[in-house]
Symmetry: none
Subunit: 249 residues, 2 copies
C-alpha cells in the first residue's frame, strides 16, 4: 500500500465520499424524473440511472476498502495491512461503460436493427477496452503497464471513431431542438473518456502524490462521464419528448 500523509489521506477519503453522494443523488434524479420524458425515452433514463447506481455501489465499497486499509491517529496515517481493492473500479467500468454507450444509442432512437448492431459492437468494444486495461493497472513495472495501455487504446480509438463518424451521421435525423445536445453528448463522451488513459499514465510522471492524483482523477472523470453525461441524456430525452408532442400528466 501507498503511504500517505494526512492531507493526501483526507483528499482521497473525501473524494470517494463525495463521488458516492453525487452518484446516489444522480441516480435518484434520473429515476424520480422518469415521468417527465415520454415512454420511448424511459428505458434510456432507467439505464442512465443504473450507471450511476452501479457506480454509487462501487464507490461505497471503495470508501469502505480505503477506510479499512489505513488507520489515522492524531492525524498520523498508517497502513493496516489490508489492501485497498483497486479492482472495484474495473468491475464498475466493465458494467457501466457498455451501458453508457447503450444509453446514448437508446436516446438517439435509431431504427431497431441499427440500435441492436451499434449497441452490441460498441458495448463489446467498451468491455474489451476495460479488460485490456486492468492487467496494466495492477502491474508493478512500467513496461507492462504501457503495453496494456496500448492494447486498451485500440478498442478506445475504435469507439471514438464510431462516435465521431457513425453516430454523428445520425445527428441530422434528430429533432432540431436536440441536435446541439446530441453533438455535445458525443463530445462529452470523447473528452471525459480521454481523461482516463491520461490518468492511467500519471505513475510515469514518477512524482510524489501520483497515486493520490490517479484516485482523484478517476473520481472526477467518473462524475463527468456518468452523472454529468446522464444530465445531458436527460436533457436530450426531454427535448425529444417535447418535439414528439409529449406533455407529462
Amino acid at each position: 500500500m501507498e503511504s500517505l500523509n494526512f492531507f493526501e489521506y483526507s483528499l482521497v477519503y473525501n473524494s470517494l465520499s463525495f463521488t458516492f453522494a453525487t452518484m446516489m443523488a444522480a441516480t435518484l434524479f434520473f429515476w424520480l424524473n422518469l415521468g417527465s420524458v415520454s415512454a420511448s425515452y424511459r428505458p434510456a433514463m432507467v439505464i442512465t440511472g443504473l450507471v450511476t447506481f452501479i457506480a454509487a455501489y462501487h464507490y461505497f465499497q471503495m470508501f469502505n476498502s480505503f477506510d479499512a486499509a489505513y488507520s489515522v491517529t492524531n492525524e498520523v496515517v498508517s497502513t493496516t495491512g489490508k489492501s485497498f481493492n483497486v479492482a472495484y473500479r474495473y468491475v464498475d467500468w466493465l458494467l457501466t461503460v457498455p451501458l453508457l454507450l447503450i444509453e446514448l444509442i437508446l436516446v438517439m432512437k435509431l431504427s431497431k436493427s441499427e440500435t441492436v448492431r451499434k449497441a452490441s459492437t460498441l458495448g463489446f468494444a467498451a468491455a474489451l477496452m476495460i479488460v485490456l486495461g486492468y492487467p496494466g493497472e495492477v502491474a508493478d513495472d512500467m513496461g507492462t503497464r504501457m503495453m496494456w495501455w496500448v492494447l486498451s487504446m485500440i478498442p478506445f480509438l475504435y469507439i471514438v471513431f464510431s462516435l465521431f463518424v457513425g453516430l454523428k451521421s445520425s445527428i441530422a435525423s434528430q429533432p432540431a431542438s436536440a441536435q446541439g445536445l446530441v453533438k455535445l453528448a458525443c463530445t462529452v463522451v470523447i473528452l471525459s473518456w480521454s481523461f482516463y488513459p491520461v490518468v492511467y499514465l500519471f505513475p510515469y510522471l514518477n512524482i510524489e502524490g501520483a497515486w493520490v492524483a490517479v484516485e482523484i482523477g478517476y473520481s472526477i472523470a467518473d462524475i463527468v462521464a456518468k452523472a454529468g453525461f446522464g444530465v445531458l441524456i436527460y436533457m436530450i430525452a426531454r427535448a425529444k419528448s417535447e418535439a414528439d408532442g409529449y406533455t407529462p400528466a
Copy 2:
C-alpha cells in the same frame, strides 16, 4: 481535536442526530408528495428532496465520524485520536448549495434560456463561494481564516444581489397566490445563508465552547436553508399548480 465536557459532547451528538432525522424526513415528505404538484413543478420537487437527501447522507457520516472521534466512560469524554471530518460539511455544501438555487429558479418557471442562464451563473457562484470558504475553515491561524472569509463573501454578495434584484423582478410574473411565497423564499435564502458567514466567525470570539457553537450553528442553518426552505418551495409549487388549474388525480 477539541476537548469537550459531557454537556458539550451531548449537545453536538444530539444535534447531529436531530439534523439527520430532519433531513431524511424532509426528503421523504418532498418525494412522497410529488403527485400533489403539477408535472411542471416535479423536477423542482425532485431536486428539493435531493438537497435534503444529500444533507442526510452527510449528517449520517458526520454523526459516525463524531462518534468515532470521542469515547465516553461514566460521563467523562476523551478523544480517541481519530479525526472528526470537518470536510463533510463542505463537500455537502458544494453539492447542495448550487442545487438549492436551482430549485428556486425551477419553481419560478422562467423562460428556458433564462432558467439555463440563471442556474449556471448562480450555481457557479455558489460553488465558488464554498470552495473559497474551505481553506479558512481548516486554517489554524485567524488571519488566514479571515482572508478566505472575505474572498468567499464576494460570490456570496453577488448571489444575494442577484436574488434581490434579478429574481425579484421576475416576481411580478408569478400568479398572485404565489407572489408572497416567492418573496418569502428569496428572503429565507438571504437570511438563512447570512447565518453561515456569522457562524464561520464564531472562533474570533475566543470563548469557551466556540467549537460547539459552530457545529450547532451550522446544523440549525442547514435545517432552515434546506428543509425549511424546501417546504416553502413545496408551497409555491402547490399554489402555482392550483393557479394552473391542476387537481391531483
